[in-house]
Amino acid sequence: MSNLILSPIKEMEIRASKISGVVSLAQGVADFDTPECIKRCAIEHIQNGDVAKYSLSPGIMELREVLEVDLAKKGIYYDFESEIIITAGAIEAITATLLTILNDGDEVLIPDPTYTSYQEAIKNAKGVPKFVPLSEKDGWSFDENKLERNITSKTRAILFCNPNNPTGTIYSKGQLMKILEIAEKNNLYVLADEVYRDFVYDNQDFYSIGNFSKFRNRIIYIFSFSKSYSMTGWRVGFLATEQSLAQKILVRHDVLVTCAPVVSQWSALAAIEMADEDMQHFKEMFNERRDLICSHLDGMRDWLIYQKPSSAYFVFPKFTKKLVEALENDRAIKNYDTKDYQEKSLSWKLALNLLYEAKIAVVPGRAFGKTGENHIRMCFGRSSEDILKVLVRMKDYFDKKYR
């Protein structure tokens, strides 16, 4: 039997879907529809009969070519013919890669906290996820010593997302260089999921792993159209890596999905060519919502403290000592049809209390790793109205229950 568990993010959404009147900031989904130009292009290709058949396994050439050009503008160089594969979202790119590079029992280092599905994707490939705690006090940065200490003879790869989900922080150029040097020294692959790369605020510099061409033989660059173009439902992304590895991953990709949905591939092409303004608009709106959520969290300092996120659309507040003590004495979780590990976790306790008592959905920090315990993740990609509703209900809840 599989030891995989459903992503806690999805579990929260499923639980929330069964309760009337819940407002969710759980799953990382923006409230925007896909831009009109993308939808128009999709309709045109459907009507022209372009989408009924499989594409070539690596994806339609038109999209791969445009991606090569687009990446080159960012200083990232890959050959579209042999090094770029269109996938069914980033998670399929990660899954296909892990299935390719891992043998049973191989270890993959992942930051703690990080995106919940990475653990299950590694286990799915018969690998073992090993958490490397990030340093919260240093802006959730990688500690290179901890990273090196966790490397064993079985370590095969390092997998992370940059900007990081759930912390909304970015890794500096220096940190990325260190990670790559450690990978080079220990012959590891580096998988970098840059799905939030287009949402970096305050004019901060963002360095992509793909910019370090010296290490291209061990880098797997991963991107999804889901967030940048509000296309989570279209399931389309891509990976880029050196050609000999790309050709091996292609075999796994073919086994998994044959090809990414063809209508989504044409739509992704339209996104790159036409939807830049829409993406910029999303970014501006997220920036405003970031300020909104942070200003309201400021009013809950008795319970939650946070670091202002510099990217993505998540804030990851930490419980104050007062809230920790209150939750330790709270037994309400017994009523919520939970598993042992959930009952032992304060972040699960709070998330479930908020869901069943305040009718708001957030994600327990424990879902992202041990270091995420005593935190919750809130998505500010949702509408301002929903964000406000959640914050008002949350404050009321804290005031009534724990004050």
Binding site: N48, Y54, E62, A72, K73, Y77, Y78, E81, S82, E273
Partner: protein
């Protein structure tokens, strides 16, 4: 209604384009093939920008409406009737009255289905064509694209030039449809313009090129043979344009690092 509107725009733009091309008679270079069109076109434009009055089409402007817009140098009205009225009025002025026009047009020609080339050739008459590669996305449209490409090369007059990638079988096979002289490029030993000594490193690729009896060593930070093919194709085209326009500027064949941006 929408179909009628589109039909009217297509026909009017076609008329305006024919008028402007008749008035100015520029040298038209068509860049065709399944991929790499934009890169080849951009390279040609970059190499000629300081010596010739030259213009190309934006990437997505290579269809029935896009190509006339590119020739007239106008934006699309997208789905707005009002914007289209503006576009057509501006187009009328440019086509009938405007005096300045480029001497050379480098135009991508996109093919997706049967009849595309016939329609595009009813608007423009290229004197030179370069075809980079032919590769279908679906197995059942291979013949259609080959037929369209054959139609394109056969339309180039005998005083023109057809530039073909000899390393691609389906491109090489177009030879039998050509009236105009052919220049083959590629790694193939029989190619007129030969690519040699392709090497990869973490910074990109290096290669040697033999063009018009001169050898040059080139570097690019782009990966993949298709980029070397594209750089070569652009070199061949610019060399031929210079011969045709009797430009005094000699082709530069020293070490040049090519960057996409």
């Amino acid at each position: 209604m929408k179909k009628i509107f589109k039909f009217v725009i297509e026909r009017y733009l076609k008329l305006l384009t024919k008028i402007i091309l008749w008035r100015h008679n520029p040298l038209i270079v068509a860049v065709a093939g399944s991929t790499n069109k934009t890169f080849i076109k951009d390279q040609i434009l970059a190499e000629l920008k300081n010596e010739e009055k030259v213009r190309g089409n934006p990437r997505s402007f290579n269809t029935e409406i896009g190509l006339p817009l590119a020739v007239l140098f106008l934006p699309s009205g997208y789905s707005s009737i009002f914007k289209w009225v503006d576009v057509l009025l501006a187009g009328t002025y440019i086509s009938v009255f405007k005096r300045n026009f480029p001497r050379i047009l480098v135009l991508e020609m996109g093919v997706q289905r049967k009849g595309d080339i016939k329609y595009l050739l009813s608007i423009i008459k290229p004197k030179m064509v370069v075809i980079s590669d032919i590769g279908g996305n679906f197995s059942d449209n291979k013949n259609v694209i080959d037929e369209e490409m054959a139609r394109l090369v056969s339309a180039i007059p005998s005083e023109g030039k057809v530039i073909l990638n000899m390393d691609h079988d389906r491109v090489k096979n177009l030879e039998k449809y050509c009236r105009a002289p052919i220049i083959f490029y590629g790694k193939n030993k029989k190619a007129d313009v030969r690519i040699k000594n392709v090497r990869n490193n973490s910074n990109g690729q290096t290669f040697d090129l033999e063009l018009s009896g001169r050898k040059s060593h080139l570097e690019t930070d782009l990966f993949g043979l298709h980029n070397i093919h594209s750089l070569t194709a652009a070199r061949v085209v610019t060399s031929e344009i210079r011969k045709k326009t009797k430009s005094k500027t000699k082709i530069k064949t020293k070490n040049v690092k090519k960057k996409r941006n």
